[in-house]
């Protein structure tokens, strides 16, 4: 029973991490890793206040900034927060 519970928890962690993968290295020069991690933190905390996280591939790189901008007021994102979320999404999107 304990093994089954452990397997479920590991599965839970792996499955949902796909919706907000962690970034361990900056995908390109000039992009601050701290900013990307801050963006991920905001992405997983603020967006799920209203809806589940969409898969990153669902929208194009061009669409994401507008989507985040449209929801930034609702999610209490200040301009710097908004930029961090967009930078994170675009960094993940680039890897897909």
């Amino acid at each position: 029973m304990k093994k089954l519970l452990l397997a479920c928890l590991i599965f839970a962690g792996c499955e949902t991490a796909n919706y907000a993968p962690q970034i361990t290295r900056s995908p390109e020069r000039g992009v601050d890793l701290t900013k990307l991690n801050r963006g991920r933190d905001l992405f997983v905390h603020r967006c799920i206040e209203c809806h589940t996280l969409p898969a990153m591939w669902k929208y194009s790189r061009e669409d994401w900034p507008q989507i985040v901008n449209d929801m930034s007021h609702r999610a209490s994102l200040r301009p710097a927060d908004r930029e961090a979320v967009i930078a994170y999404i675009l960094a993940v999107r680039k890897e897909l």
Partner: protein
């Protein structure tokens, strides 16, 4: 400055600094994420409870609440007034019940961590009533699914001199599926263990189960749950319908 100009200025400032606190996908369960810092939201609850056993009666209960995001992980809510209208064969009328304070602290995230956890504490006081309620809230998001579990311990002092005592342990389980970013449907299950005089001699057990639906737009949401009693406990509602309407300033 005229009153009107002051009102406009206040509303403008509120519009600039406040935001939506968050959508509720369930009405009988709480979710683990807390509101963003600086967000303010008004939530209005309406619960209709219909009792058939031992005799017909109906109650409409209302709650008017303001929810405030304090920090990234901590939120507070004030229940300005809980009141109700009841109607049974012998009497009917309005009644003020209580006012209260609710505090929620978030420990982990339902997406980034294996399980999202929050702890909850509530204090309510009213007309010959004091209530203390603690809760553990667990949540997990899987893609478009949200699963939530609440374990609640409640102690009530009521009546003349607050001499009447009652305890309750309840657990609730909910699942919600997001059809699109604006619409979710789900199920809620609620099990109550009631301890009159803090004893379990009467072995009062109630189970309620039913569907829910949640719809959200830019600055507001509405969530409705219909619960039917799966047990046959006297004086407990055979049917309950709860609606929560939330609007961000």
């Amino acid at each position: 400055m005229s009153k009107r100009a002051l009102s406009i200025l206040t509303l403008s400032i509120l519009q600039a600094v406040c935001a939506f606190a968050g959508v509720r996908h369930f009405t009988y369960l709480y979710e683990a994420p807390t509101s963003p810092p600086g967000s303010i939201e008004s939530e209005n609850w309406m619960t209709w409870a219909h009792v058939d056993n031992p005799e017909h009666s109906d109650e409409l209960a209302f709650r008017h609440e303001i929810e405030i995001g304090i920090t990234e992980r901590f939120q507070a809510s004030v229940y300005f007034v809980d009141w109700s209208y009841h109607n049974d064969p012998t009497s009917s009328g309005f009644k003020y019940s209580d006012s209260g304070l609710e505090l929620i602290y978030n420990l982990s995230n339902p997406v980034a961590d294996p399980v999202g956890l929050s702890i909850y504490q509530e204090y309510k006081g009213g007309d010959r009533l004091f209530e203390w309620e603690s809760k553990v809230i667990a949540q997990k998001n899987y893609g478009r699914w949200i699963f939530a579990y609440n374990a609640t311990l409640e102690a009530v002092w009521q009546g003349e001199g607050l001499s009447g005592r009652e305890g309750e342990f309840s657990q609730a389980l909910g699942a919600s599926y997001e059809i699109d970013p604006q619409l979710s449907v789900g199920l809620e299950f609620l099990q109550e263990f009631v301890f009159p005089n803090w004893r379990d001699t009467e072995e009062v057990r109630n189970v309620f189960v039913g569907p829910n639906v949640s719809y959200r737009r830019n600055q507001w949401f509405v969530t409705v749950t219909a619960l039917a009693q799966a047990t046959d406990t006297e004086d407990e509602p055979n049917f309950q319908l709860r609606t929560i309407f939330g609007v961000g300033f």
